[in-house]
Amino acid sequence: MRFLIHRYNPETDKKPRMQEYTLADINAGDMLLDALFQIKEEDDSLSFRRSCGEGVCGSDAMNINGRNGLACITPLNSLKEPIEVRPLPGLPIVRDLVVDMRPFYHQYRSVKPWLTVHDPEPETEYLQTPEQRDQLDGLYECILCGACSTACPSFWWNPDKFRGPAALLQSWRFLADSRDQATAERLEELEGAYRLFRCHSIMNCMDVCPKGLNPTKAIGNIKKMMLKHLV
């Protein structure tokens, strides 16, 4: 099986290059991450992030044959050869397949992603009906892998100003939570031409999300809520 892998070590390379590797002995049913491990056994200088190996930690998002995804849950037999693996687009490259995620995390933190309640706390849990809780399905499962935001042209152009799909999905996760009492503050924070409104519904985000989440829809919901809030 043939692979073309993005290589760049700032200590020794002037510019990035694509390096070819061939694995003779690999099971087509294996995941791309298994192949990267095999390559690293031969060439320990290849760097990439990984941890859980089962699609829950969000470490190993990368660009695979032109599409963002998680290496650990992408089966090799779903990919055309040579398999081209590059870092997530739009973020500074640290080395090989490792990007600098700081701009992405910054946007996440900027939406104040924590439950905010102004009333005094009861001694038991806040009550929430199963239907209210259902509103959080498809939102709270985000693993912050960054596949969506780095597939979004609006984020590429304005990573410092546009919150991006992942952060906006989390903003909506709290707006949609029946327990949260910071609706007005959250909406206000997203006003202006950039933070929310740079989304042009290109929908790359929902297309690539490895957890099957739909940030575009969440963004639409925020916009609707804003309108309602205005009147």
């Binding site: 070590n9 700032p10 200590e11 020794t12 690293k40 056994e41 060439d43 320990d44 200088s45 760097s47 990439f48 992030r49 990984r50 941890s51 859980c52 190996g53 089962e54 699609g55 829950v56 930690c57 969000g58 470490s59 849950i73 640290v94 080395r95 090989d96 490792v98 995620m101 995390y105 933190r109 104040k112 992603p113 924590w114 439950l115 309640v117 706390e121 001694e123 038991t124 849990e125 806040y126 009550l127 929430q128 009906t129 199963p130 209210q132 809780r133 959080l136 709270y140 499962e141 693993i143 912050l144 709290f174 939570d177 327990r179």
Partner: protein
Amino acid sequence: MSALDIERRQFDTLVIGAGGGGLRAALQMSEAEANVAVVSKVFPTRSHTVAAQGGMNAALGNVMPDNWHWHMYDTVKGSDYLGDQDAIEYMCRAASHLVVELEHAGVPFSRLANGKIYQRAFGGQSRDFGGEQAARTCAAADRTGHAILHALYQQNIRAKTHFFDEYFAIDLLKDDDGYILGAVVLCIETGEPLIIEAKTTLLATGGVGQLFRTNTNARINTGDGIAMALRAGIPVQDMEFFQFHPTGIAGKGMLITEGVRGEGGYLVNKNGERFMERYAPHAKDLASRDVVSRAIAIEVREGRGCGPNADHVMLKLDHLGPEVIKKRLPGIRDMAMTFAHVDPIDTAIPVFPTAHYTMGGIPTNRYGQVVIPFEQSAEEAIPGLYAVGECACVSVHGANRLGGNSLLDIVVFGRAAGNHVIEYLKENRYHRPFNDSMAEEAMQRIGQWQKTGEGESVDSLRAELQKAMEHYCGVFRSKEVLTEGVEKVRTLVARVKDARLKDQSKIFNTARIEALELENLMGLGLATVECALAREESRGAHSRVDYPERDDERWMKHSLYHANGHIEYKPVRTKPMTVDSFPPKPRVY
């Protein structure tokens, strides 16, 4: 590079590890306005707590009557009487409050029709001290760990905890009076070392599941904190007790939560027989994990396994119906479809016992203080050093952890340790003097990996270790096999010094990190086989075919393994805080 040239930073308190345990402790301290640094080798939400599925135990009694004292009984029994009963009482009493706190922090727990937190049945749970099945596990679908870890990270951002993301802790700093003063860490991105000085240091680095070839753990679970403690002269406790989870996906290891059986799923052998009825007539598929794992191993050994190689059993849940599976077990369904290529809505999942949880670890008391035997005292606290979570051994899990008790353990003792640190800081207001020699050993370890030339590879040594541990130290053990295992692991340990890294670059050099992790794995692998060989009885997860019975007379005690190979023992704390002790009884489910 000498220690003199290394950048130094100072904080009141240092937390190493950003899983549930580290983050819960950090939150407690940040809210008390301590200046907290959290170091993690991965971005916090990538810590392995994120993978926890089934839930967290607390006797809320939302579904049926329940009581913390029943929970305590189950935990003591589950531990096969090796758990320390003061710590267990403390944990079970605190549980309900801690779950409510997490809910207030934003955790999206699943809900009951009346709006309260959803609870499901898990293994080893009973009402009324061994009576009917309880439903004690609070769940956010089958993504409870994810939900808790993200909420704790979010609250820490709010509380302005200082994070060092992607920094790898190498070793602790210790002065001549035995105080722990922080740690030497390595910035993974730049490859530069950094000294973090702190008045207290808390280890929350998680377990060491990577000791075994097939495991449910993340690649990062290499037991670094436990090995750091061992190198700092602290003996490690009860390492022979390693939990094998009954239901990892056969041959691959991904976990299928006990919650599947809690929701009504069950195991069958090749004849379609529901075999757990034979091994645990009362609790059946919800017996304790050690019991179910052994039953599966026996079924397979006696030729009743499934598949072309008869090497696994099947976990059946199709009878639960698509509604329950989609609503309560969506993550499991994804996992089964991705890795076992079956949709559990209509096909059973192939499963086999898989290395899962480190019951042993750094010895602590119920305040999270690291304790060692000293002169007359069995448990003398090391000033400035704390440990919580899977790397610690309080010990609430004893010889066998109950499902749902680890997420509880990490938040209960994370919070308790945070509170103790706050008190400690009041009495220890100033940093103790630092001198460069404290960092020397850590620098030497980095230097060791800068040798070039031909040598063995880190990958092949790790693979050999994992195979050896699986072969010599698995579900069933014996003197003969363990003796060979000790020899084998000793030779592997000796070979580490001949290993070489080809990649000598600085920036994001993951090969170097894996080399440092390998050293940690090796030390703990040896501790595990040595203690397993020494313990001549069967208790909980430690099952000796040559000593099939539990032997309370000789062995109701904790083992303490020193870096030089010496093993000593200390008594179990059988006295609870306020209630009567649960004396050892034969353990039947």
